[in-house]
Symmetry: C2
Subunit: 311 residues, 2 copies
Amino acid sequence: MAEFRHGTPDQADFLAELLAHGLLIDSGVPGVYGRGEDFERVRAAFDALVTRMAAVDEPERMAFPPLLPRHQLEQIGYLKSFPHLAGSIFAFEGDEEQAAVQEERASRHEDWSEFQEMTDLVLTPAACYPVYPAVAARGALRAGGITVDAGGSYVFRHEPSGDPARLQMFHQREIVRIGEPDTVAAWRDAWRDRSVELLRAAGLDARFDVASDPFFGRSGRLLARSQRAQALKFEVLVQIAGPEPTAVASFNYHQDHFSSTYGIAMENGGGPAHTACLGFGLERITLALLRTHGLDVQAWPHAVRERLALA
Amino acid sequence: MAEFRHGTPDQADFLAELLAHGLLIDSGVPGVYGRGEDFERVRAAFDALVTRMAAVDEPERMAFPPLLPRHQLEQIGYLKSFPHLAGSIFAFEGDEEQAAVQEERASRHEDWSEFQEMTDLVLTPAACYPVYPAVAARGALRAGGITVDAGGSYVFRHEPSGDPARLQMFHQREIVRIGEPDTVAAWRDAWRDRSVELLRAAGLDARFDVASDPFFGRSGRLLARSQRAQALKFEVLVQIAGPEPTAVASFNYHQDHFSSTYGIAMENGGGPAHTACLGFGLERITLALLRTHGLDVQAWPHAVRERLALA
């Protein structure tokens, strides 16, 4: 089992309140919760707000299940950077006798892992990953490229924690921009301001910062420094629970990492495309709103409810 | 790898058309597809129609991620009945050296399974499973019990197939009824008619039948016979592609299976509760609508678009 990160007392209290109010529903595994009606109403409302804000880009909408071909995870090198966060899908391939032994062990909550074999699927670690091969399969991009609204996809991170804002499975509300380097950079800059405004308009004390990914191991520290130095990752931070603000949105500029992997180019010799993505953590934003405005959604400030079309 | 079931020529043609029209998006793994904008509009429209139809039951809404605690799968005996369909989550627990070897193998698409260990999570195989412990945790039920609308949850079935209606990951639009045996039976009977009407009103040639689950192995055949004899499972069938109609909705009457497992009882010595669930296969219904009314959603009959509030 991955090391369990205890929440701070503040985080543990907040989690207990969320469970007591039926906003989250305990599953017995840290970081995996059901969600009650009010939580879902807020999450859906913010989701819809992003959809309205993104309409100006005239995105193409695509949706993907939370499973990714294992081959794709291998191809993009995810296991180099984040082996500790990945989840792979195993399944049973045996006969009736083996099934009987597996069931017997499972019924006693003993180890039945030897009967499980790796499948060709993994859990999706980032909502933008399936978008790149889907766009690549269509051939070269016209001038201006493409914007894809991938909606609110489930993603997995194997990091059990007592902090309710650190879930193992959560919705990334993802928008992806693919096009000429200048086009992509301009899109990212526009959304950098737009996303902070959007969160502030919902009454959150949001601020913007350069960031780095939680790369694995010693070599990961180098990768993180380089990512920061090149300002390839930005985050929008909001105070939820705990000693530090939590990232509720992040921008990643991949330069030609995905476009070269999948062969996405601009038409008429326009060169390789660049890619960038923007993901809002829908559960984190819902938690931030509940923390800021209170656990009774009906009692939130009128302006906030109106802004989220909850009124 | 689980045995790949080839689609019939009719199913293969339908899949090819869906991909060509951008309604589905190929991932490289059979039974795992992205979904295009029109597909999602129809899926969301039918989802909303079920929500409106279910409002009469005044359900409590809950939502669950596509992961279930492994302990729960073990406890309810899923691996006895369906070991071939289950998916378990494995993850990396090693050090930097092991991570390096794992990555090297993965980058060559070689076997890296030895570095993956079983976690305490599995993929959710049925959308109703997380509902029972959530309800049990609240204590005994008042007279009349409870109806839970669990929305459209992703569920996993490890059965790669060339039939586009047989997905490995799909949305079950799930409603669960928990209460006195008579209450639950009456609810099921009401929905049996309501669900056929609902599908017929959307222009589908739906019919109702007694059914059984795809239990594993020789002993599974006995289980299936017993399930049929007791009429514990019903399905609503629609012709999509292939030689036989496809189940697009199913009703399962569990009697006291889940209530005894989790200890769900009626208040004031009202005895054990019974449970039943109803699940609509949202992707299958979307496919049935596309097959019946054509791949151009804008050209569907006005009455159907109006019924689905697509107009």
